[in-house]
Amino acid sequence: MEVRHQVVVVGAGLAGLRAALAAGQAADVAVVSKLYPVRSHSVAAQGGINAAIDERDSLESHAYDTIKGSDYLADQDAVELMCEDAPRVVYEMEHWGTLFSRTPEGRIAQRSFGGQEFPRACYAADKTGRALFQTLFERSLKAGVRVYDEWVVLSLAVADGAVRGLVALDLKTGELHTVAARAVVMATGGLGLMYQRTTNPYSATGDGTAIAYRAGARLKDMEFVQFHPTSLVGTNVLITEGARGEGGILLNARGERFMERYAPRLKDVAPRDIISRAIETEINEGRGLPGGYVHLDIRPLGLDLIRHRLSEIYDFCRTFAGIDPSRELIPVQPAQHYMMGGISTDNEGATSLPGLFAAGEGACVSVHGSNRLGANSLLECLCFGRRAGQAAAAFAARAGEEAFPAAALEEQRERLAAIRKRRQGEHHGVVRRELRGVMTDKVGTFRTGEDLAAAAAELARLQERYRSVALMDTGAVFNADLAAYLELGNSLDLAQAVVACALERQESRGAHARRDFPQRDDQRWLKHLLCRYSLRGPVLEEAPVRITRFTPKERTY
């Protein structure tokens, strides 16, 4: 099948749907997604969305907290823009129907979140992502947004240095389709599946980011991987920061509230990088529980509050850990949670590749710098998703109708035929497992040059093996084996980018903590690392950090 739209959005999560709705105001738009929209991981966001809507709060305070949280690596003009847009975003979603939790006066309720001096996370119990996403999904149904669901995007079609559309595999039939477009918005979310311990879903393989990378777009800040302090031991399902925002505390094996030592002021609501390192330190120094975890205590909050404001958490604890968090301690450990880096964009979502735009977790503006504050990612998706959609529609209006390059389809057809033909070789599942092990062991909370170099070498070997893996399923209809194989290729390319950037950055900043370079080094490293794809591996470049009015200083909480 050949379809043509003016703007095509890849990914149907919060950023993607917001981009589609915005682009749809001025252009013919369609969404291509490997999942049906409501299956996207935006629905898993729990805690909240930041906006300075209280009279006692201020945009400056929100911006300052975000920039300080980013360890001064965020681009300050972008942060200010996002914080200024935040109240509009929240009110718009409320007007569209989002069921925010309310204060007794009937206003949108706000709670404390990590690294913030004011309780500014607007929330819907502990299912804020789902509440916001459902509203957007409902709006997209109302607007009649065309969604090609369960289409796996294989590549971008590029001709004369500009994007002309994409090639996708229809999972339901096994057919290849071409989608011609004047502008493409990548919004495919995170890449956490490359880690063994992650809060991310099976589908978080960074597809759009990897495809854009291979097509020539620059990646940015790839060394900054966020580890969430509190994932449930075992499945690593997320336990929201909101649990601590509501008053929950972390305890080590001795029952000590150890965060008092690491962040005397904010304690258990310090930023995520600090708490994750604190937990790892407790465990490494023998004060963790056997098997490597600590306890989260939300018992003092009481059953009533837990069941109303932390209802999902209550359910998770019972379902996945068999415990009642109103009476028992929750076993938690850090797990990969979020990717600060992604396709490098400007404030309008434009990338280095003409016609390609990006938004959401798979993009990097950068508003999170080296460490994202909780409740800023939903905001980022809605704020920059809209801007990217508008910019893509404007770009499409200027661009002419160009022919779709036939070679792009042929290339993918050959690629799939080749893998389907291969009868011998190890299964890609083995390579995936090893990738996830390497990333968790060597590219985690604390890093060393030695570990990173070993990881880089290991990844190169895995890439080599990937070239000769085989499928177990060569059928046409819903070939999940083929989809997983394609996803693994994306994970591997992005993992190499993560490791290359992490090895390059010889300092500790935000989520990137090098044991061999424990200090932040503004002189040398107050800059972004950009990453360009080449067949020989990632090629790194540098870009300045845009600073407006917040001068970098030491970060204490």
């Binding site: 409501v38 129907g97 819907a124 879903p201 209809v477 819903f478 999940a480």
Partner: protein, 244 residues
């Protein structure tokens, strides 16, 4: 526990003339969910096995299937609990066309959802600059919040006996969604939704078998929500005052 058997429905329309069941042996570890077991199976034993999965924590609604005959989420079902007699039987959701193995075509489900106009339809008064105030008694807000918890997994459709017989019946999830807006004080869309709801294949098809309520992995009382819609519509027909 020793090894247990997974008996899985297999069907690939591009290759198989008819469906069959395939047996797999797995070694359950404590805490292993049916979904994790399936993922392991696919990576280690049989890559051709098709099922949907994403969040693995019961929020995305991808992995609804029949587990020992009952519609459940694979990620929220412990293998140890499901393997009472040493065998876990997995089949695709009842009432939907099978695409392959455990993957069904849900298009009919989405089409029904759209028919209830599942979006906020505000009244004529302009929206305020800030948020609309919303003061609801705690219990009412909880009911509303609960009704908005639907993850579209379609377990309720697979379990509903009416849905099984009447393809045209809107079904529990769509009606719960309708209720979520009808009960929202900011919504004024009753008249627009009435055509779909006040219809033999709308709310009146429900005979309160309560299988939807039993099946819902998010513990939404779907049958109760449908009754609320019936009450509202009945009050309208009878011109009664009240919450209609």
């Amino acid at each position: 526990m020793d090894e247990i058997s997974f008996r899985i429905f297999r069907f690939d329309p591009s290759r198989d003339a008819e469906a069959r069941y395939q047996l797999y042996r797995i070694r359950p570890e404590p805490g292993l969910t049916v979904l994790s077991a399936l993922v392991n199976l696919r990576e280690e034993q049989d890559g051709s096995l098709a099922f949907r999965a994403s969040c693995r924590s019961g929020i995305c609604g991808s992995d609804a299937m029949l587990i020992n005959g009952r519609a459940r989420l694979a990620c929220k079902t412990q293998v140890a609990e499901a393997a009472g007699d040493g065998t876990v039987t997995l089949e695709p959701l009842r009432g939907f066309p099978v695409l392959k193995d455990l993957v069904v075509d849900q298009s009919d489900f989405w089409e029904k959802l759209v028919r209830v106009k599942p979006w906020l339809i505000p009244g004529p008064e302009p929206a305020p600059e800030r948020e609309r105030l919303m003061r609801l008694p705690a219990q009412q807000f909880d009911e509303l919040s609960r009704a908005s918890d639907c993850i579209f997994c379609a377990c309720c459709y697979a379990e509903c006996p009416m849905e099984g017989r009447h393809r045209a019946y809107l079904g529990p999830a769509a009606l719960v969604k309708a209720y979520r807006f009808e009960a929202d004080p900011r919504d004024a869309g009753s008249a627009e939704r009435r055509g779909a709801l006040d219809h033999p294949d709308g709310v009146w098809r429900c005979h309160h078998v309560f299988r939807c309520t039993e099946a819902c992995p998010k513990e939404i009382d779907a049958a109760w929500a449908i009754q609320q819609l019936q009450r509202r519509l009945a009050a309208r027909h009878l011109r009664l005052k009240g919450d209609a």
